[in-house]
């Protein structure tokens, strides 16, 4: 990581830009909106592609069904609303109308995680990864920043699987080296190291770069949560023997559990820690990073955990 302060960019804005570009090239691309058009930054799309912007109002189950029906008719559908509502409200419709019917709807879950900040517990979706990775055929992705989401959505637009894509609300530091590209099922080693493997996704992982330590950290971006890049993860853990998973999500059903099972199945010896929300709700905070401090996900907490894991 270079010493310059990173750019701060909005994932939402970058995604909106990518969708405009995709829709220009693909006349079959539709957006299904669920009453949050301004907030998910789709105003320009809605005026430029009027007939391909389908507004369902605040009705997430219907929106998932409409998306599935459009997909059955051959459209390339992006279902866009807050993650606390989709899949928060419409899981059963996603399961039956989209997954069971084998339709490749792309579900964009905005405002995920504690970073949603002042909107509080109801809007801080901390269960989306658990819900979505449990669904057959569903692929699950969480970009680390605005650069990755741009690359990711261009790839996903061509995918024939249903997918869930997790975004955060605030603008966040851009650290993703664009030259890496995004490949479904691949994670990226953002920094090589030998003492400890640190796995995560989304901006919570970016915080690791702000830590000063003499330990040699191997930082891996698991933005492809399902399919998971098991080879890269196992290779790294074999090398370091220590693993820290950090995620802005409930411990239950998150990446940490997925990776713990992977390590056990591979009979790897490894010291393991999992920083995530521990069976509790979020709450309001004007500075969303205060919530990382409150829930033990701040750089200080990460450093403490690194030191503990490396202590013997």
């Amino acid at each position: 990581m270079n010493s310059r302060a990173p750019l701060i960019k909005s994932m939402r804005q970058r995604l909106a830009q990518a969708l405009l570009e995709l829709a220009t090239a693909d006349p079959n691309l539709y957006i299904v909106s669920v009453g949050l058009r301004p907030s998910v930054m789709l105003d320009r799309f809605s005026t430029r592609f009027k007939t391909r912007f389908v507004e369902c109002g605040v009705a997430e189950n219907n929106a998932a069904g409409i998306s599935a029906g459009l997909a059955r008719s051959g459209k390339n559908v992006f279902l866009c609303t807050y993650s606390c509502f989709s899949p928060g409200i419409n899981l059963a419709t996603i399961k039956q109308s989209i997954c069971l019917n084998g339709l490749s709807v792309k579900i964009i879950g905005y405002h995920a995680g504690l970073l949603t900040g002042e909107l509080g517990a109801s809007h801080q979706m901390l269960e989306d990864i658990a819900l979505m990775r449990s669904l057959p055929k569903m692929e699950v992705f969480a970009p680390i920043d605005a650069t990755e989401i741009y690359q990711m959505v261009k790839v996903l637009a061509k995918s024939s699987h249903p997918a869930y894509l997790r975004l955060v609300r605030p603008s966040t530091p851009v650290i993703y080296p664009g030259r890496l590209g995004f490949t479904i099922g691949k994670s990226q080693v953002l920094q090589s190291g030998k003492d400890i493997t640190i796995l995560g996704y989304g901006p919570v992982l970016v915080q690791v770069f702000s830590i000063t330590t003499k330990k040699s950290l191997e930082i891996i971006n698991c933005s492809s949560l399902k399919p998971l890049d098991t080879a890269t993860i196992l290779k790294s853990v074999k090398k370091t023997g220590r693993l820290l998973v950090v995620e802005d999500h409930q411990q239950n059903g998150g990446l940490g559990e997925a990776v713990a099972a992977l390590i056990l199945k591979a009979s790897l010896k490894c010291r393991f820690a999992h920083l995530a929300v521990n069976d509790s709700f979020g709450q309001s905070a004007r500075d969303p990073y205060d919530l990382y401090r409150l829930h033990g996900l701040s750089p200080v907490n990460i450093l403490d955990t690194i030191n503990k894991l490396c202590s013997r």
Binding site: G57, A59, G65, S67, A71, R72, T93
Partner: protein, 267 residues
């Protein structure tokens, strides 16, 4: 015998054949949703055996997936699947799932979780404006809020190519729909939500075919057809008894009685 003395509709033979198939299918499988399957027979016969729609191009979405025995029997009659396959209904190696499944040729939507199909049909109708999409729901299914979300959506998008037929048999698994969750004036509700509505005798093939022709002619408004039916239609001891929403294997005497009644029915 037709007590009103009118000539039975030529397709009533088909309907009664299907009822026998449904009874055999469910009894062989030792279980299935027989009540609604029997009440929906004429509705699906009117859709598949009249010349109003061509479901190689138009779309049929069975929202109430538990009525699949009727659809499976129809697809067998149409040669989409083999007649002999019906005896595999709901078995481990069968593609004839206990609720409608796209693994069966001719089925466009896997269903079972109630209240979702009208949204799917509406999305499909929006994506394919050159053809009609016909959805079959039930009255009990209207307990689900999602149905009303879809009803509002279809009005907003002026979906003249969308038709929703409600198999209104007045029963659901735990009692009458009136006691479980009263729907009130369903036709009036559809009207106020911006749909055209017809209420018809759901066992009269001529009334049903006339209604779907009228519904098809609607170019601006989505069209609802409320088909008043009898749950368990054709088997006297099942009719209007919610305990026959679904059955396990029938005692042999009841099975024979049911078969006898269906075989002797009026043409």
């Amino acid at each position: 015998m037709n007590i009103f003395g009118g000539k039975p509709h030529p397709l009533s033979v088909t309907a009664q054949d299907l009822r026998l198939s449904i009874l055999e299918m469910i009894n062989t499988a030792s279980g299935g949703h027989i009540g609604g399957s029997l009440s929906s027979v004429e509705i699906m016969v009117a859709l598949y055996f009249s010349d109003v729609f061509n479901f190689n191009r138009d779309h049929f979405i069975l929202s109430a997936g538990h009525l699949c025995p009727t659809l499976y029997a129809i697809l067998a009659k149409l040669g989409k699947i083999k007649l002999g396959e019906l005896s595999t209904f709901s078995d481990i190696d069968s593609r004839l799932e206990g609720h409608a499944s796209v693994s069966v040729p001719g089925i466009e939507y896997s269903s079972g979780s109630l209240g979702q199909g009208l949204s799917f049909a509406s999305g499909l109708a929006l994506g394919d404006k050159l053809h009609h999409t016909v959805c079959l729901t039930t009255d009990g299914e209207h307990d689900e809020g999602q149905i009303w979300e879809a009803i509002m959506f279809a009005n907003k998008y002026h979906q003249g190519n969308l038709i929703n037929i409600v198999d209104y048999n007045g029963q659901q698994i735990g009692g009458t729909t009136a006691t479980i969750m009263p729907l009130g004036e369903l036709a009036g509700k559809y009207l106020h939500f911006g749909w055209t509505v017809q209420t018809v005798d759901g066992h009269s093939l001529s009334a049903l075919i006339k209604a779907i022709k009228i519904a098809k002619a609607s170019t601006i408004y989505p069209a609802a057809i409320i088909a008043k039916t009898v749950m368990g239609k054709g088997i006297s001891f099942m009719e209007n008894d919610y305990h026959y929403h679904d059955v396990k294997k029938l005692p042999i005497s009841l099975y024979l009685q049911a078969k006898d009644e269906l075989s002797r029915s009026s043409y």
